[in-house]
Structures are given as structure tokens and as C-alpha cells.
Amino acid sequence: MRTGLVVVLGLIAAGIALRPLEGPAWEKIQAKQPQLRLESLKDALGQGVTVGLLGGFRAIVADLFWIRTNAVWEENDLPGTQTSIKLVTAIDPRPLYFWLNGSRMIAYDMPNWRIDKAGGYDVVPEAVKRRFDEEQSKVAVNYLNNGLDFHPDNPLLVLEIANVYLNRLKDVETAAKFYRQASEHPDAPYYAARIYAELLRRLERREEAYAFLTKLHPTLPPDNMMAQAVVVLDRIRELEDELNVPAVKRYRDPNGTPTPPPRMPGLDVDVSDLLPAPVAP
């Protein structure tokens, strides 16, 4: 009894004495590995997540659970799929693949499952369908926001949130906000900024879209196909026509593409077509 007490007290004393050595290191490790926080695991504890938490085989255990997720997904089992998706990212939150595909299952597939279960597309009223969309989108956006805790520097998760607002909820205003947020990231794909500008046009905020694109265009590498500098320039020209920007105020391409003259209002021809042909020397 006395020996046991001494051992326990000795361990507690060691725990207290070593806390100053452990604390700073543990803080740094937790900051780099947010999965080592209780709130990251509360959705998944008690479901076999221990295997992953023991430090080994995290990647392979998560992969096997992902296969299981797909098996449950094929059966249109909503609670099972949702739980399994969260379990996978609780075990291994590092791969973006799980976050992106998990959120797509929640936002795009699950509303359809709910509609089918409620009687099908022809029976379920539009308001109920809308409610299903909103509820599942909310779950997906929350899930993606959790993903941002682990990947704060990754614009693809922000883009996925924007996609949910645009494609599922048809909320162009909020989607535009997230596309802009994603486009401001240094590693953002070029299309994020282009979509943002297009959504501004759709929202009838043409001046804003024009100002944004004219700032964006000089930053695009002309020889990069993904940057689509030519497409952006075309859109700038379209906006100039729509906004009736006078010739002197038109955007000048730093790469030397000549600035076309404004189109005549009401005519689908360039003003240059109406000008006299240059006289040959």
C-alpha cells in the first residue's frame, strides 16, 4: 500500500516537475497538428478512432475507413455516410482529398437522398427541397470550415465553400465573397479571380468587376495557359463596351495588345469600321 502510494506520488511529482519541459513542446506540436485537440475528435471518439490515434497507421486506417465511407455512400445511408466522413478526417485530417470529396457528398448527394426518401422529386414541394439543400449545405460548409482549421493556408477549401453557395444554394452574393477570399491567396488557382469577376457581372456590379479585372490582368503571366490572360482581357473589353468607357479611359494592355476603339451604341460594329480606310503612302 505504502509502495503504491509512493509510486503514484512520485509519478505526480514527475508530471508536475516535467510540465515546464513538456508544455512548450506540446503547444508547438498541437499548433502544427490540430488533430491532437479534443474538439477535433469529438465527432469520432469511440468509433475505432483509437487505432489511428495510437500514432501508427494513421494514413492506412483513414484510407480503409474512406473505402468503407464509399460503401455506405453507395447505399444512400445518410447518417452512416456523414459519420464515416467525419471519422476519416478525424483519423487523418491531412489529405485535402477527404475534405473536398466528403463535403461534396454532404452538399450535393445527401439532399437528393433526402428528397428520394421523402417521396421523390415530383412529390416533394419546392420549399421542402430548398430546406434540404440549405440544411445539407450548412453541414458541408461547417465541415469545410473544420477543414480550414487544419489547412488554413489552402484556398481550395474556401473555393469549395464558394462552390456550395453557388451551385447548391444559388447564393451568388455569398459565393462571390468566398471566391474573392480564395483569389486573394497567393496559391489560389487563377480561375477563382475570373469566377469572382463573372459573379460581379451577374450581380450587375459591372464597375466593380471592371475595376477588379483591370487590376488583375497586369498580374497574369501571358504565357501561362491556366492564367487565361487573353480571356480576362476579352472580358475587360466586353465590360468597357457595356459600361461605355470612353476610348481615352480604356484599359491599356501592358503586353502591347492595341486598345480597340469603343463600339457605337446600338450598333454591333466597331467604330473603326466606320472610319475612312487609311490612305496608302
Binding site: 509502495t3 509510486v7 508530471g15 508547438k28 501508427g56 494514413a59 484510407d63 491531412r94
Partner: protein, 280 residues
């Protein structure tokens, strides 16, 4: 001649450690687990087909560390318990302790013997994993040189550091199993308790996180005591940082190493204290 009349001897401690090491490497369990771990690390190239998320090299590293941690933990607990109780059951402990031999020499000799065996296990597993990663990285560099413009992606120095820290963690686990064995009556009890303690040590950080959220003061106190009694094994889990771009933080690695060594000394000392009060 009584123990009190002879000074503590590193020579005697070394003899016990050497004998323990030889006994351990002759065990079938050691060879079996070593072969399993090596087989698993080597098969990482085939298992990568299952991989959906991480990069291939990261997956191989994860898989290798998984094998090291899983089989290393099993080997540490089983070997320590078996070697300790073989001395008790074969009565060799009686013969040994009847001689002028400190119980501290006996316990720390056992510890060093097992620690050396686990060291061999870690060296072989990590060595194989590094060779595998180097080989595969070389192949990938030849296939997609544009992805390796900044040189190799894997920091092999970091792999070694993480391997060393895992070895230290197994050292703490060895000391814990010796502490349990010092008062336990059976090998089975020691092995089962050792596995439970391993799981608790890996999950104790959750108790610490939960402590702040517990309303009941008594339960809160118990949870806090639990987090102080058991060492935090997740602290040694720096393998996640390899291949993630950041690398292993030198300050963190040093602190973790100090933490592990301090725990080995403290728990080893408590094992000696407990063993001194035991009737053999």
C-alpha cells in the same frame, strides 16, 4: 557479503544488460516481430495503391512509422515482461539477488538489455524505411524531375531524429513495464496492464483537454491527476511533420528527448524502489 558493503557497479549492471540482450535476441518473439515489421515496411510500396490523400512518399513514411510503433510497442511490452518474469519463474533472480548485487543494478540491467534490443529493432526498421524511401524518391525524381527542382523532398535527418525519439518512447514504456512487473505476480497481468497503460499514455492529452470542461471539481481533480501520472506519448509523435514542408523543430526534439530521459530515470527509480520492497 551484503549489498550494503559493495558499491554500485556499472560492470555488474553491464553484465546483466548484456545477458538480457542476448536472451532477448534469441527469443522467437523478437525475430517474429522483427520479420513482421520489416515485411510490413517493405510492403508499403504495394499498400500505397490504397492511398487516396497524402503524397506517395509521405504515405510510405507513415506506413513505416506505423509498423515501427505498432510492433515496437508490442515487442517492448512482451519482451520486458517475459525477460523479467523468466528470472523470477526460473528462480535465477533468487540466485542473483543472493549475491552482492543491488536491486537497482538488476532492474536497470534489465532495462538496458531490453532498451538495446528495441534499439536494434528501431535501427533495422528505420534503416529499411529510409532505404525504401530513398529508392522510391530516386525513381520519382527520374520520372518527374520538375517536382523535385528544389532537391529531395524527404529529410532523412528528420527521419533519424523521429526514429530516435520513438526509441526513447519505447524506453519510457520499458521502464513502465518494469515498474508494473516490480509489483505484479504474473507475466500476463504485466503484459495486459502494460498495453492499457500504453493506450492511456497515448490518449492522456484528451483527458487534459477535457479537464477544463469538467464541471464536477472531484472528477476534474481525478482527470488532472491522470494527466500528471501518465507520460504524454503523443509528444513523441513528430513523424506527422515529416514531408509536410516544415520539418522537425530542433527545440521541440530536444525537449521531447529530455522529457523521455527524465521519465526513464524517474520511472526506473520508482521500479527499483518498488522492487526493493518485493518479496521474491
Amino acid at each position: 557479503m551484503s549489498v550494503a558493503s559493495v558499491p554500485f557497479s556499472l560492470g555488474r549492471l553491464g553484465l546483466i544488460a548484456g545477458n538480457t540482450f542476448l536472451e532477448a535476441v534469441r527469443q522467437k518473439l523478437f525475430l517474429f516481430l522483427l520479420l513482421l515489421a520489416i515485411g510490413l515496411v517493405a510492403s508499403a510500396l504495394f499498400f500505397r495503391e490504397f492511398n487516396f490523400g497524402s503524397s506517395e512518399l509521405k504515405f510510405i513514411a507513415d506506413f513505416g512509422f506505423g509498423a515501427l510503433i505498432f510492433f515496437g510497442s508490442a515487442l517492448t511490452i512482451a519482451t520486458t515482461a517475459q525477460l523479467f518474469f523468466s528470472e523470477i519463474e526460473n528462480r535465477t533472480a533468487l540466485t542473483l539477488l543472493a549475491k552482492p548485487l543491488w536491486r537497482a543494478e538488476f532492474v536497470f540491467g534489465k532495462f538496458l538489455g531490453v532498451f538495446a534490443v528495441i534499439g536494434v529493432f528501431c535501427a533495422l526498421t528505420i534503416g529499411l524505411m529510409m532505404a525504401l524511401l530513398y529508392h522510391r524518391e530516386g525513381q520519382l525524381m527520374a520520372q518527374t524531375p520538375e517536382a523535385f527542382e528544389a532537391g529531395r523532398l524527404i529529410s532523412y535527418g528528420d527521419l533519424l531524429v523521429v526514429g530516435l525519439l520513438q526509441w526513447l518512447k519505447f524506453g519510457v514504456l520499458t521502464a513502465i513495464v518494469l515498474l508494473i512487473a516490480s509489483f505484479s505476480n504474473t507475466n500476463l497481468f504485466t503484459v495486459v496492464t502494460g498495453f492499457f497503460v500504453l493506450v492511456i499514455c497515448h490518449l492522456q492529452y484528451l483527458a487534459r483537454d477535457a479537464w477544463g470542461n469538467v464541471d464536477n471539481a472531484l472528477i476534474g481533480l481525478v482527470v488532472q491527476a491522470m494527466s500528471l501520472i501518465f507520460p504524454n506519448f503523443q509528444l513523441f509523435n513528430l513523424a506527422d511533420e515529416i514531408g509536410q514542408g516544415s520539418g522537425v523543430d530542433g527545440d521541440v526534439a530536444l525537449r521531447v528527448a529530455g522529457y523521455g530521459l527524465a521519465y526513464i530515470a524517474v520511472i526506473g527509480g520508482l521500479a527499483v524502489y518498488s522492487f526493493r520492497n518485493r518479496e521474491i
